[in-house]
C-alpha cells in the first residue's frame, strides 16, 4: 500500500509540475501560436480556393495552377521515394486484407486451409496485423509525410537517395517479418512478433527516412512549424524509442514483459499511427476546403495532451490481471484524461468541416479524411470508456476489443490515408484519376463493409463478454452464439477488400498511364519560385 501511495503521489506531483511548466510557458509566450500561423500552409492569396482535383477542377484559376506548378517543383526531389512507398503500402494493404479475410473465415470455418502450419489461424492473423500496421499504415503515413513536409516547409526533400534506400530497407524488413511469422519464428508478444534482427532492419530503414525528413525541416523556408509537423516530429521521436525498448532481446520476462508489451502496443497506436493520421488530417482538411483550421491555439492542447496522457494508458489492457494495482489505476486515470486532447482535435477538425459542408458534399477525398477524423474522436471516446473497470470486465477478452481496434486503425487511420492518396497522387504525378467515379465506389464499399464488420463484432463481442461473466454458462454455448456475428464480419471484410482492390487498381492505372497529363499552367508566382 505504501509503494502504491508513494508512486501515485509521484505521478501526481510530476503531472502538477508539467502543468505548471505549461502555464509558465504560455504566460511567457513560449508557446505562442496565433490564428495567422494556421494559414502558414497556404500561399498568399490562396485562401478561399478549395483544392481537390477530382472535385473542384473548375474552381482553379490560373493563379491557383501557378501554385501547383511551383509546388510541383518542390515535389520533384521526393517523387521517386513517395511513389515507392505508396506502391509498397498499397501492396501491403492488399496482401494484408487477404490474410485478414482468411483469418476471419477461419473463425467460423475452422477446417478451412488447416493442412499447413503457415496458414493456421494464429499465424495468418499475425501476418495480417504486421502487414497492415508496419506495411500499409506506417508506409502510407511515411509516404504522406515525405510529400507533405516539403510542401509545408516550402523546400524540396533533402537526402532523397537516403530516404529511397530507407524505404527499400523498411519494405524488405516488413516482408521478412511476415515470412518469419509464417514460418513460425515469432517472438510471441502481440505487435512485437517479428524476430529482433528484422526489427533492427526496420529501425535502420526508418532512421534513414527520418534523417531525410529532419534535414528537410532544418532547411525550411517558413518561420512557423505547422501543427501537422508537431505530430510528425513527435511520432519520429517516439516510435524508435518504443520499438528499441520493447524489442530489446533477453531483457523482458514474465508479467514485466506483459507491461512492456502493452506500454508498447498501445503507444504504437497512440504515439505512432495516431500522429500520422491526425497530422495528415490537420494538413488535408484545411487545404481541401481552402480555409485554415477553426481554432489554431486549441491544437496545442491537442498535441501536448496526447503526449502527456496517451503515453500512460497502456496498462488498461491488463485490468484485472497479475500486475500491481497502482499501475492499472494510473492507466485508467490517463485513459479518462484522453477526452481533453481528443475534444481539442475534434473542435478544430470537425469545426472546420462543419463550417464548409458544401465541400464535404462535393469532395470524396474530403469525405474520406473527415470521416476518418470523426472516427478518431469516436474511437478515442470508446477507448476511454473501455478502460473503466466496469465496462472492461465485459469487453476485455472479447471481439468487442477487435472492433475497437479496427475503429481506430481502419475507420480512422486507413480512411485518412485513402483520402491522402487520392489528394496527393494527382498533384505528385501531374495526372488526373482515370475514373473519378471509382472514388465513390471505393468509399461506399469500405463504409458499408466496415459498418457491417464493426456492428457484428461489437454486438457479438458484447454478448460474448456478458456470457463470459455468467456463472454456469457453458463455453460451447458462447461459441455457438457468436457464429452468426463472425460470419457477418467476414461479409463486411469481403466488401472492404473489394474496396481496396479498386483503390489498388486505380493507383496502378494512375501510375502506369502516361497519357492523362494535368493541364498545369506555366505561370509561376515569383515569391514561390525563389524558394525552390
Amino acid at each position: 500500500m505504501t509503494t502504491m501511495g508513494l508512486l501515485l503521489a509521484l505521478s501526481f506531483v510530476a503531472s502538477l509540475g508539467a502543468l505548471g511548466f505549461l502555464i509558465w510557458a504560455i504566460a511567457n509566450r513560449q508557446f505562442s501560436v496565433n490564428q495567422q500561423d494556421a494559414a502558414s500552409i497556404f500561399e498568399p492569396g490562396e485562401i478561399g480556393t478549395p483544392d481537390d482535383s477530382t472535385a473542384f477542377q473548375s474552381h482553379k484559376d490560373a493563379k491557383q495552377q501557378g501554385f501547383d506548378a511551383a509546388r510541383a517543383r518542390i515535389d520533384e526531389a521526393g517523387h521517386k521515394v513517395v511513389v515507392l512507398m505508396v506502391a509498397g503500402a498499397v501492396l501491403a494493404l492488399i496482401v494484408g486484407s487477404l490474410f485478414g479475410l482468411i483469418s476471419s473465415f477461419k473463425l467460423h470455418l475452422p477446417d478451412f486451409l488447416a493442412d499447413s502450419a503457415v496458414m493456421t489461424f494464429g499465424r495468418v492473423r499475425t501476418m495480417h496485423l504486421n502487414l497492415v500496421s508496419y506495411g500499409w499504415l506506417s508506409m502510407a503515413g511515411i509516404a504522406a509525410a515525405m510529400w507533405m513536409v516539403p510542401r509545408m516547409f516550402r523546400t524540396p526533400l533533402r537526402r532523397p537517395n537516403l530516404a529511397f534506400f530507407g524505404a527499400c530497407v523498411w519494405m524488405t524488413a516488413t516482408t521478412l517479418a511476415v515470412i518469419a511469422i509464417g514460418l513460425g519464428y515469432s517472438e510471441g508478444a502481440e505487435w512485437l512478433e517479428m524476430p529482433w534482427p528484422v526489427g533492427i532492419l526496420l529501425g535502420i530503414g526508418g532512421a534513414c527516412m527520418a534523417i531525410a525528413l529532419v534535414d528537410t525541416a532544418r532547411h525550411r523556408q517558413v518561420h512557423h512549424i505547422y501543427v501537422t509537423a508537431w505530430y510528425l516530429i513527435g511520432g519520429l521521436c517516439w516510435f524508435p524509442i518504443l520499438f528499441f525498448i520493447a524489442k530489446f532481446p533477453g531483457l523482458h520476462a514474465g508479467v514485466q514483459h506483459a507491461t512492456v508489451n502493452w506500454w508498447f502496443a498501445h503507444n504504437v497506436l497512440g504515439l505512432w499511427l495516431t500522429p500520422l493520421g491526425v497530422g495528415t488530417a490537420y494538413y488535408l482538411i484545411p487545404k481541401i476546403v481552402g480555409k485554415p483550421v477553426f481554432s489554431y491555439a486549441v491544437s496545442l492542447l491537442g498535441f501536448w495532451g496526447l503526449a502527456l496522457f496517451y503515453s500512460q494508458v497502456g496498462i488498461h489492457h491488463l485490468i484485472g490481471g497479475p500486475v500491481p494495482t497502482w499501475v492499472v489505476t494510473l492507466s485508467i486515470v490517463h485513459s479518462m484524461m484522453m477526452f481533453i486532447p481528443v475534444i481539442a482535435v475534434a473542435i478544430n477538425q470537425h469545426g472546420t468541416v462543419l463550417a464548409n459542408l458544401w465541400a464535404f458534399k462535393q469532395s470524396v477525398t474530403l469525405r474520406f479524411v473527415s470521416i476518418g477524423a470523426l472516427m478518431y474522436t469516436l474511437a478515442s471516446f470508446q477507448g476511454s470508456l473501455e478502460a473503466l473497470r466496469s465496462i472492461n470486465s465485459v469487453t476485455h477478452f472479447t471481439h468487442y476489443t477487435v472492433g475497437h481496434a479496427h475503429l481506430g486503425a481502419y475507420a480512422f487511420t486507413s480512411m485518412v490515408m485513402f483520402g491522402a492518396f487520392y489528394y496527393m497522387l494527382p498533384l505528385l504525378t501531374k495526372r488526373e484519376w482515370p475514373w473519378p467515379r471509382l472514388l465513390n465506389l471505393h468509399f461506399w464499399l469500405v463504409v458499408v463493409g466496415f459498418s457491417i464488420y464493426f456492428f457484428a463484432v461489437s454486438i457479438g463481442g458484447w454478448l460474448q463478454g456478458m456470457g463470459l461473466l455468467e456463472v454456469g454458462r457453458p463455453f460451447g454455448d458462447i461459441t455457438r452464439m457468436l457464429q452468426p456475428y463472425l460470419q457477418a464480419r467476414s461479409i463486411g471484410g469481403i466488401l472492404m477488400t473489394f474496396g481496396h482492390l479498386i483503390f489498388a487498381v486505380h493507383i496502378a492505372a494512375l501510375l502506369l498511364n502516361k497519357q492523362a497529363v494535368r493541364s498545369v499552367a506555366s505561370v509561376q508566382p515569383a515569391a514561390i519560385a525563389e524558394t525552390v
Binding site: S116, F121, E190, W238, V255, S311, G321
Partner: protein, 210 residues
C-alpha cells in the same frame, strides 16, 4: 517554442521518458523482485519445446492465461479456470503469454483441469472430434498418417468418422511437446498474502465499498 524543432522533440521525448518510468521501469522493479512460489517448477526441456510450439502457432490469440478474481467475476472460477493469478506465477515465462482474447477458454490451469495426454492429442488433431461446436483450428500437420503403428508410436484415439480411410494417426514430436507443455500448466498451488498483493486488486476495493 512551436517554431523550433529541438524544443518540440525534447518535450516529446521527456514526456515519453516519464511514461516509461511509470509504466515500464517502476512496475518492472516491483514485479522482477518476485520469486517463484514454492509450488511452481521451472519448465523441463520438453515443456519448453512445447511452449515454443504454443508461441509459434499463435495459441495466445485465442487463449488467455490469467484467470480473473472472484471480486471481478465468479464466472472464471466456475469454469474451472483456477484462482486469480499473481505476478510470481509467471517468473519462468519468456515470452509472456497472458493473452487478451478468449475465443477459447483460459489455459493457465489446463494441465490440472485436463491432465490426459490422450485427450489433448485427439483435441489437437481434430477439436470437433470432441466438441462439435468448437471453432479451434485442427493441427493435422503435427501428426502423421500411418498404415500401421510402429512400436513406440503414440497413437491418437479417434472416433472412426474422423480417421482418414482406415489409417492410423500418430503424434509427431512437436505434438508430444505441446501436450507436455499444456499438461505442465498448473498454478493451482496456494500463494501467500504477500505474493497475492502483486495483482490488480482494484475490484476488491469496490467489493468492500458496497
Amino acid at each position: 517554442m512551436m517554431n523550433r524543432l529541438l524544443p518540440i522533440a525534447v518535450g516529446a521525448i521527456a514526456i515519453l521518458a516519464f511514461a516509461t518510468l511509470m509504466l515500464v521501469i517502476l512496475p518492472g522493479i516491483q514485479i522482477r523482485i518476485e520469486e517463484a512460489p514454492a509450488g511452481l517448477q521451472p519448465y523441463t526441456a520438453q515443456e519448453l519445446a512445447g511452449r515454443q510450439q504454443y508461441v509459434n502457432l499463435g495459441c495466445v490469440y485465442c487463449h488467455s492465461q490469467q484467470p480473473r478474481s472472484h471480486e471481478q467475476t465468479l464466472a472464471d472460477a466456475a469454469q474451472g479456470w483456477g484462482r486469480p493469478s499473481v505476478a510470481a506465477d509467471y517468473v519462468y515465462d519468456r515470452p509472456h503469454q497472458l493473452g487478451t482474447m478468449r475465443t477459447g477458454p483460459d489455459l493457465l490451469n489446463v494441465g490440472a483441469r485436463l491432465p490426459s495426454a490422450d485427450w489433448h492429442l485427439t483435441h489437437l488433431y481434430q477439436p470437433r472430434a470432441i466438441f462439435d461446436w468448437s471453432n479451434m483450428p485442427a493441427f493435422p500437420f503435427l501428426f502423421e498418417e500411418k498404415a500401421q503403428a510402429e512400436p513406440g508410436d503414440m497413437v491418437v484415439k479417434l472416433p472412426p468418422e474422423f480417421r482418414p480411410d482406415g489409417k492410423t494417426i500418430v503424434a509427431r514430436q512437436p505434438a508430444l511437446d505441446l501436450v507436455a507443455y499444456l499438461q505442465s500448466l498448473d498454478r493451482s498451488y496456494p500463494v501467500d498474502n504477500e505474493k497475492n498483493a502483486v495483482r490488480d486488486q482494484g475490484f476488491a476495493k469496490r467489493l468492500e465499498d458496497r
